[in-house]
């Protein structure tokens, strides 16, 4: 029999047992839907994380002090003098309290040098950055991160009014957007000079950020910076440093590999449910072979070869699995769409997801269909005909 004729027999049978066919597909439907939805969650999440990481700048090196007295402004000045450094800024930070007339909360107070806003360019929601006049010795201006502003109940009307940081009066000049970037949200930014007055820890700084002219120079600059600081403090190569140097690019790569692992894990779980779906199909196909033993006998008697029987049952399993895959793909993409709306990331139907879903369900059909189909084909015609 030609393959189309055999396929028609398989489809005919699936249609004749609609409810059972649907239930049989369910395992694969759920497995594929899970794979599609989970892939899109991981995608969306890493999209989000990478977007915030990108705001940090990929050619930056973050040198963080291990203790309060590990790094100084003199270190920063020396680093700024290295070749290929385009921007440099320092941060001094400490826990503190922030208060308006009505409320008072804890926050991380961060003193930044003038280059900070220019280098990081966080998005601003209200008001403005600390301007050059803010950095004049006498002024005491402050910019709030989004969460810090929220916690204190800052509204537009409070711009320009006075807030207290550790009991000292500051003028609120701006509030950052909640999308402003990784780690900005809970912080409160003042000038580095103000910070010194707040925590009285001159000349120490908590971190120094230097930026290479081009992304290609970052790795070399990291080595130069490390050598320079080790020389300044007379540290041997073996000694644990007083600081850590974080390369933003490697941070992004690390996050990338974490989300990839997460994705693999979730896909693994989904693959197990697909496996269960496949076993479901195999089970029903075995039952079906048993129930239809007589039919197989009659078909053999009227001229069906073993290969005809094999293809008929195999196509049946593949159609069940593939149909389950298509339904699962549609449900999974619908779920992914709603998750994208909730999680505020971009929804897109990826070709590789579609191919993966269909490919997997095809594979499941073949793998779990072969054995029952072989059982059917191997039946002896007379035994099959006599079967009650």
């Amino acid at each position: 029999m030609r393959i189309l004729g055999t396929a028609a027999l398989a489809l005919n049978r699936i249609w004749a047992t609609k409810v059972r066919s649907l239930l049989t597909m369910l395992g694969v439907v759920i497995g594929v839907a899970a794979i599609v939805a989970l892939t899109s969650i991981v995608d969306g999440a890493s999209q989000g994380i990478n977007k915030s990481l990108a705001t940090l700048g990929t050619n930056q090196l973050n040198i963080t002090a291990m203790a309060q007295d590990s790094l100084t402004e003199q270190d920063a000045a020396a680093l700024a003098a290295l070749d290929n450094v385009s921007v440099m800024f320092v941060q001094a930070q400490n826990q503190g309290t922030i208060a308006t007339q009505d409320s008072r909360v804890n926050a991380r107070l961060v003193g930044v040098s003038p280059q900070y806003f220019e280098a990081v360019k966080p998005e601003i929601a209200l008001g403005s950055y600390l301007s050059s006049s803010s950095f004049a010795a006498t002024s005491k201006d402050v910019v709030f991160g989004a969460d810090a502003a929220n916690d204190l109940g800052i509204t537009k009307e409070l711009l320009g009014s006075s807030v207290k940081l550790n009991g000292q009066d500051f003028r609120l000049v701006g509030v950052l957007d909640d999308q402003a970037g990784f780690g900005t949200s809970g912080r409160v930014y003042v000038t580095i000079d103000s910070a010194r007055k707040l925590f009285s820890q001159y000349p120490y700084v908590s971190s120094i950020v230097i930026q290479a002219n081009t992304p290609e120079q970052v790795d070399a600059l990291q080595i130069q910076a490390d050598v320079l600081l080790r020389e300044r403090y007379g540290l041997g190569v073996e000694t644990t440093a007083r600081y850590t140097i974080t390369n933003q690019a490697s941070l992004i790569a690390a996050v990338g590999s974490i989300t990839a692992t997460l994705g693999l894990l979730l896909t693994g779980i989904a693959a197990i449910s697909l496996l269960v779906g496949g076993i479901g199909i195999m089970n029903i196909m075995l039952v079906s072979v048993r129930e239809r033993t007589r039919e197989i006998g009659v078909r053999r008697a009227i001229g069906a070869k073993q290969s005809n029987i094999l293809t008929q049952f195999l196509i049946e399993a593949i159609v069940l699995s593939l149909a389950g895959g298509v339904v699962g793909l549609i449900l999974g993409e619908i779920a992914a769409f709603f998750l994208a709306v909730l999680g505020d990331w971009v929804f897109s139907i990826r070709l590789d997801t579609v191919l993966l879903a269909l490919g997997f369900s095809l594979l499941v059909g073949v793998v779990f269909g072969v054995w029952p189909a072989r059982q059917a084909a191997k039946l002896e015609p007379i035994d099959a005909l006599r079967f009650e």
């Binding site: 029999m1 030609r2 004729g5 005919n12 049978r13 004749a16 239809r292 007589r294 039919e295 009659v298 078909r299 053999r300 008697a301 009227i302 001229g303 069906a304 070869k305 073993q306 005809n308 015609p381 007379i382 005909l385």
Partner: protein
């Protein structure tokens, strides 16, 4: 040599059940020539169905040889045996054995499709033969909507559609009332008149008596082989 369609030489068929050997056929010689109408008669368990399975290429003998249309079934692979069956044999079963979820015409088309014929050609031949058997208005009925007699006629159409060398009918009237049964036997006799070879298995002596040749089986052996209308 006359045109032999079936030749059994010292055919034995034994079944091993547990450690007990049952002899279903104990050494049978039989020649059936083209165009014969043979009734195979015998009590239950005498080996009639066993013989039909051997002639029908559904089974192979334990000893001896079975030749169908000149081919010995012993040496054939499963595939070749199926080809021989598809070309040379048409089956009519006691329980009709129409395929489930399948219409009358699809049942009749199936043997042609397994032979590799196109759907179009199969449909044409099947329609023709079903119409000849008076089922022209039942082509798209499935077995649940056909009477027993109609089902058996569909089964006969299915057996005939490939123009086989032999039509094998095992108790074709067993599941029918006597009037419908008689009509089916008449149909088989018509086929014989058209020149086809028909082997009819029955334990109904009256039906057997009307056949031109009667082979009596008992305990796996041929007891008598009679010719001529009595």
């Amino acid at each position: 040599m006359a045109d032999e369609v079936v030749r059994l030489d010292k055919v034995r068929r034994e079944y091993l059940v547990g450690d007990q050997i049952t002899t279903a056929l104990g050494g049978v010689d039989l020649v059936i020539e083209r165009g014969e109408f043979v009734a195979i008669v015998g009590p239950s368990g005498s080996g009639k169905s066993t013989m039909m399975n051997l002639i029908g290429c559904l089974d192979r003998p334990s000893a001896g040889s079975v030749q169908i249309a000149g081919d010995s079934t012993n040496e054939l692979s499963d595939n070749k045996l199926t080809e021989l069956r598809s070309k040379a044999i048409g089956f009519v079963f006691q329980q009709f054995q129409l395929l489930p979820n399948t219409t009358a015409i699809e049942n009749v088309m199936a043997p042609l499709l397994y032979q590799g014929k196109s759907t179009k050609e199969a449909r044409k031949l099947a329609t023709q033969i079903l119409t000849q058997l008076g089922l022209g208005d039942r082509l798209n009925f499935d077995r649940n909507r056909l009477s027993g007699g109609q089902q058996q006629r569909v089964a006969i159409a299915r057996a005939l559609v490939t123009s086989p060398d032999i039509v094998l009918a095992d108790e074709p009237t067993g599941a029918l009332d006597s009037k419908t049964g008689a009509a089916v036997i008449e149909l088989l006799k018509d086929l014989h008149r058209e020149g086809r070879t028909v082997v009819l298995i029955t334990h109904d002596l009256e039906i057997a008596a009307s056949a031109p040749r009667r082979v009596f089986l008992r305990d796996g052996l041929i007891e008598r082989d009679e010719r001529g209308v009595r």
